[in-house]
């Protein structure tokens, strides 16, 4: 069976500096695949390569069997790869309403109804400039935008960074519900609580290489903690 996302021997980085080296991973429909590891090992670079924010030096990226390696970022989005980055997560100069709707011709907020139910502060401040939000609130806004899209795959880079614990639980709940509906996730995350709650498969990165992978197990947190030497 063809995986929804299939990454094979992917390498790349910034200019002449190669950060990610020969990483392969796959995500099937309805799966949440997590990438974890210590700071600076290339996790964000890996998802930037997959989302088209950086050009790949070598390797291939396939989405639903189609090779998207050469496509620009907006082309990959149209092929079904949604992406919420770790930094620069919102358009600071635009209102929250514009952040949520500028990429939709209909500018309709209906698709955000359930998300607004759990994150009411976003809906309350639709006309506020997004740049005035706190770091955690920006992350929630970015999460809402990515979740409300109709992309079969959602890439989230450190979605829980700076977010209150109760809101992380709500994020996890949305991820589980979306998985049940058949959507897939590729999530870079160091928060093992979120990994434990939602992961189907985990890849551990070190020095830009995949050094360990495991499917979901009963003792996932212990296994990862040991590997991460926390």
């Amino acid at each position: 069976m063809t995986a929804l996302l299939d990454v094979n021997g992917l390498s790349g980085g910034y200019g002449d500096v190669t950060v990610v080296r020969g990483v392969s991973l796959a995500a099937g429909s309805g799966q949440a695949v997590f990438v974890t590891g210590r700071n600076g090992v290339g996790k964000s670079t890996l998802v930037k390569l997959i989302a088209g924010q950086l050009p790949a030096e070598s390797g291939t990226i396939s989405m639903k069997g189609q090779d998207v390696t050469a496509l620009p970022a907006h082309g990959r989005r149209r092929c079904g790869i949604g992406y919420a980055p770790q930094e620069g997560v919102v358009f600071d100069g635009l209102s929250i309403f514009e952040n949520l709707t500028l990429h939709r011709p209909d500018r309709d907020l209906t698709r955000y109804r359930e998300l607004f139910g759990q994150f009411p502060r976003i809906e309350e401040r639709l006309q506020q400039t997004a740049g005035t939000l706190s770091g955690g609130e920006k992350k929630i806004l970015s999460f809402c935008r990515a979740l409300a899209e109709d992309t079969p795959l959602v890439i989230l880079d450190e979605p829980s960074e700076g977010v209150q614990p109760e809101n992380i639980d709500r994020m996890a709940q949305f991820i589980l519900e979306a998985k049940a509906a058949g959507r897939s996730f590729l999530i870079v995350e160091q928060n093992l609580t979120l990994v434990e709650e939602a992961a189907d498969h985990v890849y551990l990165l070190d020095h830009g290489e995949c050094v360990f992978e495991t499917a979901r197990t009963d003792n996932l947190r212990e296994t990862l903690s040991e590997r991460l030497q926390i």
Binding site: Q53, T101, L102, H103, P105
Partner: protein, 283 residues
């Protein structure tokens, strides 16, 4: 009283036409970061569109689609072939568009000659405006410019495309991540900028000298407006036009035209020195 009103209307006219001329550069430089040294040549193309339609025996309004077509096609080709490769290299863009400006001037010179072209008066005569006789064409032009800026302001603030342009300018990687084709949007923004320059040329052709080298003055005045007003906002463009146009008009009236130029130059130097981001920078 009549003198004050006449000078006031002349001041408003100077500010409005300057704002129209500078709009294209404000769009291309302010939003895309491209210092388009060929901006004045697109104004010149617009003015020559009027000359061509006049020679063909067509009304001036026929110059509007002609100028839009010529400037749009040239702008599209320039962006696609030159500018898009240089977005992150402002100095190279400046040099490339400077070379382009020379090429455009020379092509027009070879095609139409170096001499001034005579453009027929449009809407000759005057209208009575609060007791003063004001040229009809200038009055119509003022109304058209005011309407155009009003619509542009509302469109940029409220439309989805306006929001997309602001998104592309503020955070290009995220704009691409949400599915915006930033390369195409930048190309369309560039084309829009040069087309407004062409429209300015059409509007002003009956009032100014039309010749292949006319664009140089327009580039300089547009640049001074952006220095004073700042980049990336319509408010800055209007304030910059008011300061530059107002200074030029007042000093030129009180002393001489050369004094007006010197005052504008002095203000621009002071802004570059003391407030390099201008009055309303959004970048």
């Amino acid at each position: 009283m009549d003198l004050i009103l006449t000078n006031g209307m002349n001041l408003v006219y100077a500010v409005a036409t300057l704002a129209l001329i500078a709009l294209g550069l404000a769009v291309v430089f302010g939003l895309l970061g491209v210092m388009n040294m060929a901006h004045g040549e697109f104004v010149m193309l617009g003015a020559f569109s009027v000359y061509v339609t006049q020679e063909a025996g067509l009304p001036i309004l026929a110059a509007v689609p002609l100028a839009l077509g010529v400037c749009g096609i040239v702008g599209y080709c320039v962006e696609w072939s030159i500018v898009r490769h240089l977005y992150s290299r402002p100095f190279d863009t400046l040099l490339a568009t400077w070379g382009l400006s020379i090429l455009m001037r020379k092509i027009v010179e070879v095609s139409f000659g170096r001499d001034y072209k005579s453009i027929d008066q449009v809407l000759p005569g005057t209208v009575d405006l609060f007791g003063i006789a004001y040229p009809s064409y200038r009055l119509v032009l003022l109304a058209v410019i005011a309407g155009f800026f009003g619509l542009l302001f509302i469109w940029y603030r409220r439309s989805n495309t306006g929001a997309r342009i602001k998104a592309m300018v503020s955070n290009p990687p995220l704009a691409a991540a949400v599915g915006i084709d930033t390369a195409r949007l930048a190309r369309m923004t560039f084309v829009f900028g040069v087309c407004t320059a062409g429209l300015a040329g059409v509007a002003l052709a009956p009032l100014v000298r039309v010749e292949p080298y006319m664009g140089i003055d327009y580039l300089l005045s547009s640049f001074f407006i952006l220095v004073v007003g700042g980049l990336g906002s319509l408010e800055g463009l209007l304030i910059g036009s008011t300061v530059i146009g107002g200074t030029d008009a007042v000093i030129s009236t009180l002393f001489a035209k050369t004094s007006g130029y010197m005052a504008v130059l002095l203000i621009s130097i002071l802004f570059l020195w003391l407030r390099p981001d201008g009055l309303f920078s959004r970048r």
